[in-house]
């Protein structure tokens, strides 16, 4: 299933998309021919090059690391930013293996999950909201959860329709689906939960003026509200989870205890309570592995006005 079937309008844009697609396909073909250690070393090298040449992302990463206090000084910020670039390129390679290699999850992922959360994952009839961020390997997290029950990940369709279709084709058969965030089908997300799926949402993307301003590392960050509203409206259990890389191709899937925020009848307050709790869970995860966070995202961009709890 593709999440974006709209063809490019301009011939130039279409040509650019095709070139990007061909380049990516060639890179994937190359990866398949290389041994694991070589591919990971290559990925780290590409990450280091990215740190050197992607000046804007490097600056944003360093600025974010200083702003949050995660890096105490400039040297530590540079070190973590470089490691973060390297982490991201390794993540791509790991994800490809995770999707292709039979038994990857069983061989490479261990679980560190509280009993109550494990019970929710093992109950195939129980819907579950999984909030996560761009920390560790979120793709492996989704695949690992999908070994227990069906997982539906919300994604923004990529602008390149060829790459988007390829990403969908690369998904392993079984319980992991990616679906577009926005759809005219109004009851769709509730239906996924009712059929017992895990509905996985990223909580750390800049939400613009339609998000809610919630502290993240003590500073207001526009935050998407969908996960909070889903929890409050459906009353399905909510957990924060992430997958930490503990060694080369070794991961640990971690999750919080089920989070329950009772409704007070004040929507803004209820949504804020859920998002504040989730942001603290994410902060804790980042504190454990700051080099495994995607620092290059402009999470604290200013907005003209913060208007309530709406989604993007």
């Amino acid at each position: 299933m593709s999440t974006s079937t709209k063809p490019a309008q301009s011939p130039w844009i279409k040509a650019r998309y095709l070139v990007e697609y061909a380049g990516l396909k060639a890179a994937l073909g190359l990866l398949n021919t290389l041994p694991t250690t070589t591919s990971l070393a290559l990925a780290r090298g590409v990450g280091n090059l990215g740190y050197v040449f992607c000046g804007m992302r490097r600056r944003v990463s360093i600025e974010n690391l200083r702003r949050t206090g995660v890096a105490g000084d400039a040297a530590r910020a540079r070190q973590l930013a470089r490691a973060s670039f390297s982490h991201m390129t390794q993540l791509v390679v790991e994800t490809i293996w995770a999707r292709y290699a039979p038994g990857f999850v069983e061989k490479h992922v261990t679980l560190a999950i509280p009993a109550a959360t494990r019970d929710l994952l093992n109950d195939r009839k129980q819907g579950l909201l999984l909030a996560t961020g761009h920390i560790g390997n979120w793709e492996v997290a989704g695949l690992a959860a999908a070994r227990r029950k069906s997982v539906v990940g919300l994604m923004r369709p990529m602008s390149n329709p060829y790459v988007d279709a390829m990403v969908q084709r690369l998904l392993p058969p079984g319980g992991f689906r990616l679906v577009p965030k926005h759809s005219p089908d109004i009851g769709r997300f509730a239906e996924y939960l009712r059929e017992g799926s895990v509905l996985a949402l990223m909580i750390d993307q800049f939400a613009g003026e339609r998000g809610m301003s919630v502290p993240f590392f003590g500073q207001p960050a526009q935050t998407h509200t969908a996960v909070a509203l889903l929890h409050l409206v459906t009353r399905e259990p909510l957990v924060f989870g992430w997958c930490r890389r503990t060694g080369p191709l070794q991961f640990e899937l971690r999750a919080s205890e089920p989070i329950v925020i009772a409704r007070t009848g004040h929507k803004q307050e209820d949504v804020r309570a859920v998002l504040t709790r989730l942001n603290s869970e994410l902060e804790r995860a980042i504190g454990e592995a700051p080099e495994q966070y995607m620092w290059g995202h402009r999470r604290w961009k200013p907005v003209k006005a913060s208007v309530g709890s709406g989604e993007e």
Partner: protein
């Protein structure tokens, strides 16, 4: 609640929840909800407000087949009866 009371209340909730510029005078029971600016994500705000405003509980997946304002009114009639 009567049909008209439900319609009026729902109208008010939708008006305060949507972020689209909608000509509310032209909205009828035949109007589609997605044309009022609600999609799979923004409908969540509306669901919270409906549950709160009408003091009812429902499984949001029950709304899957509701497409128009009139469908919502009919659904709410059964729940508030």
């Amino acid at each position: 609640m009567t049909h008209d009371e439900i319609l009026k209340k729902l109208h008010g909730i939708m008006k305060s929840t949507t972020r689209e510029n909608v000509d509310w005078d032209s909205i009828s029971e035949a109007s589609r909800v997605d044309a009022l600016g609600f999609d799979s994500l923004s409908i969540l705000d509306l669901m919270y407000d409906i549950q709160q405003g009408f003091e009812i509980e429902f499984d949001p997946s029950e709304l899957v087949h509701l497409k128009t304002v009139g469908d919502f009114v009919a659904f709410l009639e059964t729940r508030t009866a």
